[in-house]
Structure formats: C-alpha cells, structure tokens
Subunit: 366 residues, 2 copies
C-alpha cells in the first residue's frame, strides 16, 4: 500500500507548516530564490535536480574547480557563463544579484570556510550535513551567518519527507504509547579513495557521514535531546580505506523521558538504513534513509483488548522529491523571513553529540 | 518460501553433529532418558510437550508445590503418582531409578539451589536460562555437577533450531563476508505481578530474561567472545512493575575480529525479537527468538559484479519442535557421555557478560 496523493500533499505541507502562502509581487510571477551551487559532486546533482523542480527556487550560479564540467551543467540549468565561479574568485558572488543563496556541497572540512565566505558575500547558506568537521567550525558558521544577517539551514532532507513527518506525527499522537527504545543502523561498504574516508576532508568516518541519520532520527522521533552516550568503535588498520577514519561504530543514547537508543554505523559492510521504535502500545519501523522509497510499517493498539492497527506504506515520490521539499522550505524561509526548521543550531547539536560519541569511543574528531 | 523437509532434517541433524547413532541395547527398544520436571509453570509446559515428542526422552517425575496440578499433569504424561514430589522432599528423586535427569523450570534465583540438590541426588540437569541470578551461583552449579559427576546443560533452545543453525552456517561459509556489525533487540511489555520483575526472584530485569537472547546471538553469530561492553539503562520508578528491576537497557559490544554489536531490551514496550548481521558482502536478518516461526532473510554477493543471492525462508516446524531437539540433544549427550553444546560454561559466560553490562549501566545484579 502506498500513501495517496492527497495524503502526500498534506504531509508535505506539514513540513512547511511555518508558511502560509507565497508573497505575490504585484502581478509578476512569484519571486524565486536564486541558488549558487558550490561543489558539483554527487550530492550537488540531487540538489540541482530538486531546485530545478521547485516552484520557489532556481539555479543562478555555480562554483567549481572544473570549468568544463561547470559549463555543461550551466547550459543544462540555464545558468549564464558569467555566473560560473572558481573557488578562488567565488567571493565575487556578492555582486551577483541573481544569487540569493548558496548550497554548500563540498567535503565536510570545507563547509565552514565556504559557508563563512558565502555569508560574508551576503548570501544565505543551505549547507550539507554533517554541518562541519568540528564543533568549533559549526559555531563559527553560525556566528558568521548571524553577523552577516543571512540564514543558515543544514540539509537534513528527511525533516521535509512525508513518511518521516507522518511517523513523527504518529508517535506524537501517542499511537504507539510511551517510546521506550529505538534501534537504528545506517552504513555502507565504502569504495577505496573516497574523500569521505580521508580524515582531513571528512573530520571523521561513517558516524559523521551516515551514522548522523540514526543520531538525528533518535532526536526527531523522541522530540528530545540526549542525556548521555556510550560508544565503541573498531577499525581494521590493515585496510587501506581506514587509515584516517573509524570503520565500525556502535553507540547507545539515553533521553530524559527514559527512552534508550542502540545504534550502529559502518563503512565496512552493507547496512541498509532503518530505525525501529518500540513503544508501550506498539512499534513502528521506517526504512530507509535514502533519497526515496521510505517505507513505514507499524503495529499498535490502545490496550490489550483493542484491535491491532497495522500500517504498511511506501512513499510513491521519487528522487529528487526530498530535495524539492528542502529547497522549497529554505526559499520560503528566505522569502518570509522565517527560521528554517533545520537551522545551524540543529546542525551544531548533532556535531556536539557526534563529538560526545567519538569521545566515548576514544576517537578524536576534526 | 519455507525450507524443505529434507533440509529441515539435515539442519536439525547439524545441531546434533556430535552424535552418530543411538546405542541399541540388545533387541530392546532404545533407552529413553527419564526427566523429572521441577516447577510446572509456562516454560515447563513447552519442555514437557517437547520431551513427550522426543524419541530419546520421556517424563518420569514432577516436582511441584501444587499437588492437584501435578496429579493432572502426571496423568496426562503417564507419570506414576509416586513420582510426584514436593519441593521439600524432592531430594528423594535420588532413589527413583526412572529419573535420569531433571529440567529446572523455576525462577532464576532458584536455579542454583535446585540444580545443586538435583546434582547431589545424582541426576543430570537441564536448566532454564538465565543459568542463575548471579555469577557465583553459576559457578557453584558447575562445581556441584562436576563433583557429583552429572551433566549440566543450559536450555539455549535456539542452538538446536534449524534456521539458527543455517544462519550460523551461512556466516561461517563467508557468504556475507566479514561480519562488521550486529543489531539486535528483544523485549516485551510485562504484565504487573510477574515473578520476572521481582528482583529477589529474577536477579535482574529484561536483560537477564530476554536481552540474553540478543547477547547469546551476538556470540553464536560471530563465533567469538566479547572484549568489552558499554550500556545505559532507564527505569520509570513510578511504574509499580519496575520497583526491583530495570525497564529499558541498551548496550554495545566489541569482538576481537572488530565486529561491533548494538542491542536493546525492555519490559516496557512491544519489542519483537530479531537480529541483523551486516557483513562486507551482504546482510542477513532473523526474526524472532520465539518458540517457532523463525524467518531468515538475507542478501549478499561475492563482489560488486556478482549476482545478488537472496534468501527468505521460514521454519515450518511449530512449537514444541525446539524443545524436542533440545531434549534429544541432552538425552544423547547422557546416553553417549558427551558434553552438551550449551553446557554450564556457556551459561556462565553469559552470566559474566550480563554482570559486565549491568555494571556498565550502573545496575547491581543478583
């Protein structure tokens, strides 16, 4: 069973609950927020396809070290050649009135530098997760955006994904009762030579890259902030992929309500992402954290005599729908001067928790 | 898809790999091991139905505090009234030649006393898990059985369950590659007034009762012993069910190979048991730890170019099949003078690990 188009629309709207309507400038078409994409790797492709489909957003600039690649993409999205920048001269985006915001798609360790440069250029910033390579960098990013009066949003795309929103709504409604435990995992078998396994670029391993999905999920599922963490990590130092970052990591969390979480991440195994939430009245499970295909299964009942309610729903929308919703959210925040649901503070919290997890596991981050 | 009868037979035989054939005493029927059941609660019912179906085992005695109940059960299984004992006079089983062994179905805190009394009466002991309420008791039980030259087996029924055995075989064959992480949970929403939530009877909470399945699974799945644990526990002290034992517990484990595990247990939520194993070449999942219905799902491939192998098999055998296989195993060990696969040492190891988990969570056991 998949959720209906009507419900999909309703749930998508939930992700944009802060927004009532788009301002209409006279009789002209609604203003679209112009985005400059910084770094044209894999994740940038998802963002660009999403922005292109968003009614509130458009691509108006590119920053890349590869001029040829950038020109091809510029032609594809109708970006003038004059709005293609190198990393060296990207501060010139300040003069480009067509650029309202940037999307920071660079490796983790470059998030701070390019977010701060963009903020100084007066542009709003949508930055990929993890927010940065260190807690200090995250704090610097928030300060720079504040000082330059630009908005900062971290690209936690699942906060704008209908199945995720429905799951949170289901938990808040009390359907599965008191949340007692969450079990989550997310990882993959990394190819050799990826920047993500280079400490100086990534700041950490799978915990920062994909474990962050489980960590963030335990927070939005409970609606609480963790009290403490325990963790263990192991790394095969003979494997050339793991000279700089951890290979496997398992952690536990405790929340003020008494809910506990047990989670795992890896760069050394196939580990399709999921979370399971166990409550006093039932359980639910969502797989996966991927770009589409979220499936929610649930089973619960009010009491031992009540009939059991079961859910098995898969989101029909395909990639880049999450990126459309995410771009829409940030564009509307800019247009209506609202704070994004997943602002810099949200990213900073995860950075602090990752630091706590790494410390518990005896790992140095950043 | 369910596994074929032929494969079921083959896998069941694997669990009995130490045994070649039954000794035939002349032309007489093969000797059956006579079991005296101590404690006639829920779990005893499973054991009795299993023993009754086992070709190597038979019920020859009962120990109960409820004579009426015992007489009804005795009639059902053809046990003479003279072989019904009270807890006070059960040491008289020594004189009963029809009783070769006992099945200890009492609450955890009574495992030690009744195992030791049975050993002193010269009877072999099949004892429920967890082996005892404390590590010291487990050590005393092993010593008493050794001193009295009787065998001690802990009722880890899944060690004799075909899907579990196939899963272990699959992992050992290297099908899913190097095991990097295991994620497991097992718990339930306990009813008020159960002996299992009374500390003095249980020695601990869900960790000892049902979390032990996840703990034991991480060991048989890796074929390794844990190096260390971290853990967190939470308890709602306003809930009358949790005045003596923990409510929720999450833990991590690290193994010498580098595999990590993240697990959770609870007495406060519906938490259908399962484990997921993530390897360098694929993953597998088994649900549940229950008396029947084990389902194995797997997906793996030799390398990124090889075709993906998928498995989705459910055991056709119904309860009490696990108890039949378990009784068979112990009876054959007695008949052939072999050490049970799940002997006292296996039970003691889990008790030590539970102690380590409780210590990590700041809980006192026993």
């Amino acid at each position: 069973m998949t959720i209906s188009r009507r419900e999909f629309t309703r749930l998508t709207a939930l992700g944009l609950a802060a927004h009532s309507s788009l301002p209409v400038l006279g009789q002209a078409a609604p203003k679209k927020i112009g985005y400059c994409i910084i770094g044209l790797g894999r994740i940038a492709d998802h963002h660009m396809r999403g922005i292109a489909q968003s009614s509130t957003s458009t691509i108006t600039g590119l920053v890349s070290g590869h001029r040829d690649k950038a020109e091809k993409i510029a032609a594809q999205y109708g970006v003038p050649k004059s709005s293609i920048y190198s990393y060296e001269d990207m501060d010139r985006i300040r003069e480009n009135k067509a650029i309202d915001a940037v999307v920071n798609c660079l490796p983790n360790s470059m998030h701070a530098e390019y977010t701060i440069r963009s903020a100084k250029a007066g542009k709003h910033v949508l930055c990929e997760k993890p927010m940065s390579a260190t807690v200090l960098e995250a704090e610097d990013m928030i300060a720079a955006c504040k000082a330059n009066k630009v908005k900062l949003m971290i690209a936690y795309r699942l906060h704008y994904e209908p199945i995720t929103l429905k799951t949170i709504e289901l938990i808040r409604s009390g359907a599965i009762g008191k949340v007692q435990a969450i079990d989550s995992a997310n990882g993959f078998n990394i190819a050799p030579g990826e920047w993500r396994s280079t400490h100086v670029l990534a700041g950490g391993g799978p915990m920062m890259d994909v474990g962050i999905y489980s960590l963030n999920a335990t927070r939005y599922l409970t609606g609480e902030e963790p009290v403490s963490f325990t963790a263990v990590a192991t790394t095969d130092k003979d494997d050339p992929r793991f000279q700089g970052v951890e290979e496997n990591l398992a952690w536990t969390t405790r929340f003020p309500s008494g809910a506990v979480a047990s989670c795992a991440t890896t760069y050394g195994a196939q580990m399709p992402g999921y979370y399971k939430v166990f409550g006093s009245k039932g359980w639910l499970e969502v797989a996966s954290f991927h770009y589409d295909g979220q499936r929610l299964r649930a089973s619960y009942r009010a009491d031992s005599k009540a009939p059991v309610t079961t859910i098995d729903e898969t989101i029909p929308a395909k990639d880049p729908s999450q990126f459309v919703a995410q771009a829409d959210h940030f564009s509307r925040c800019i247009l209506e001067d609202k704070t994004p649901n997943t602002d810099g503070q949200e990213g900073l919290r995860d950075m602090k928790y990752i630091q706590a997890i790494y410390r518990a596991a005896g790992i140095t981050m950043g």
